[in-house]
Symmetry: C2
Subunit: 338 residues, 2 copies
């Protein structure tokens, strides 16, 4: 089994992955904050009977049936909101396929959060799949819709299409050449959001940014995607340009990425923060053809599996911070030598 | 050919090498500061005719016949004083064998500086060889001697025996456990000198110290050696004890030494300062049996050959600082992969 997130897709030297989210609510039920336990259960029941389960090889997984690490691992994979894994877990469930590229979350912020993931830049195809799922579910469930506002969502920022399209981009060269603020400005001016996925002002320097649409209302889905794609294409172009500038100082660049590679592969304990920062250099080195010792696949594996919950799931045990740091270094050696 | 300084001797986990220096002046000549050119040449001529040249396979090398890099390389190997390689080089010469463990310097501070080097802790045997050389030379040259003071030297600190015995010790664990100041105090109290070979207050942290005798007057050579040996044995014991303490925190220690190993072997440019500091960790790792990827011999080679002049001699070209840093990283790869 090769989950989508281990693979490399289009423009993967800059775009790590694409995520399409469509938020929907079922007619006749109150929004989640006012949803009663029996209503939440009824929504789960209705989904259980949906034809999409068989047609897309989905599995219904109740959050109360998962162990804590599995729930946290889904948060780390950006499938669940971290707030969602608290509270009454009986009312919460996901529908997911084996590849994990489809993940429908029930009773999170809205009744349904239809998510489609893909490696690399795959906005159109991901949107198509998400909309196909949405249509089929709509026929069976009937989603709350208003002629003026379009699809109704618990948060007004999602009203209309209920569509959030986002791309995760690795922008180390724009960062190293001090060009990020210009990019931030341009992306915002063009009506899109851009943010550091590790949070603003955080010490972690992974150089990984999420670019997503702001507007959901009064615009067609295809246009949202088209606009986002145009902007992401520009960002990719700028990042590649910045890499060419870095490449002019070949020794400096090689020294940077190989020092990080050297520390990564030789350390005996490594914090999550340091891992993220080292991986940015190593990914850049691999993507620029400098580091030849490891493949893209291994970079992705290291990236995903080194996150705290995934790491513990990988080793099949609950670990405190001290032991996680040791096991993280062990994981690196295992994957490098695979 | 395997020069003495690439080898590992006794107690080599702590003691890198031993050096015995006997300073002598020839009767009937003024001390070096007042020595005229023709007198300096006469001293060189007399040595040229000495029987020790043939008996110990020595070669006479005039400093004026060497290129600048070779002279600097001798300074880096602690055979010549850095001040000695300036001024009129016609009056200066050394007598050296192929192993380079015997190096007699002419007209430096005194007419003769008889030096014997050995890997590891070799005080007695080195003293014996140095005294054997001294006796043979004395018969032929007749050294200035005074019944009250013993052998006369240009600096009063060498009067008497003219003997300086020193040991180079690597004390990373005493440094990491913050025990160095105690050691410094004890060594000084026991009448010996101890100093950082990279100079006091210098930023370089190579954890390499020279321990040598203070007293040269009113004491027999054998007793100087015996006292120094007793103190060095204590220092070795303390350093080994400190290593045992470090070893209790195995992960921390392995992490430390392997990170340095990772940077050393992966960097693409490396300054002399950083090299010295990384090599201290790597040497500790190898000596404690943690780092198994390289041998003692390679550690010694890296240590010696990475010094600026040696590095340039190794690559057979004059290099500026920028290129030296690149070539230093290249040297590491070459030697590691030998």
């Amino acid at each position: 089994m090769m989950n989508w997130y281990f693979q490399s897709g289009k423009e993967s030297d800059v775009v790590l992955d694409t995520k399409i989210t469509i938020s929907r609510n079922i007619e006749g039920f109150p929004f989640v904050p006012k949803l009663k336990d029996d209503q939440a259960k009824e929504i789960i029941d209705r989904l259980e009977q949906s034809s999409v389960i068989a047609n897309y090889n989905l599995k219904m997984l109740k959050l109360s049936d998962m162990d804590e690490l599995t729930r946290q691992s889904l948060v780390e994979k950006y499938m669940l909101n971290s707030k969602y894994i608290n509270g009454n877990l009986e009312n919460k469930a996901i529908l997911m396929n084996e590849d994990e590229n489809i993940c429908i979350v029930l009773n999170e912020k809205d009744h349904l959060k239809i998510q489609v993931f893909a490696s690399g830049l795959e906005l159109e195809s991901s949107l198509n799949l998400a909309m196909e799922l949405e249509e089929k579910l709509d026929k069976e469930l009937k989603f709350a819709y208003n002629n003026k506002y379009g699809y109704l969502t618990s948060s007004p920022t999602n009203l209309g299409t209920g569509l959030r399209a986002s791309v995760i981009a690795h922008l180390p060269a724009l960062s190293k050449t001090q060009n990020l603020s210009k990019i931030f400005e341009a992306v915002n001016d063009l009506g899109m959001n851009i943010k550091d996925i590790y949070g603003e002002g955080v010490r972690i320097k992974g150089n990984i940014y999420q670019i997503s649409n702001k507007q959901t209302l009064g615009i067609r889905e295809k246009d949202i995607i088209k606009n986002l794609k145009a902007i992401v294409d520009k960002v990719i172009e700028q990042e590649r340009l910045a890499r060419k500038i870095l490449a002019k100082n070949q020794v400096e660049l090689e020294d940077d990425v190989y020092r990080s590679y050297g520390i990564l592969t030789n350390s005996r304990k490594i914090t999550n923060e340091e891992m993220v920062s080292l991986m940015s250099d190593v990914r850049l080195g691999v993507d620029m053809g400098i580091i030849k010792e490891i493949t893209d696949l291994k970079v992705n594996k290291l990236d995903i599996l080194s996150r705290s919950a995934n790491l513990q799931k990988y080793f099949g045990e609950n670990l405190d911070v001290f032991d996680r740091n040791i096991k993280r270094a062990e994981l690196v050696k295992k994957i490098i030598n695979e």
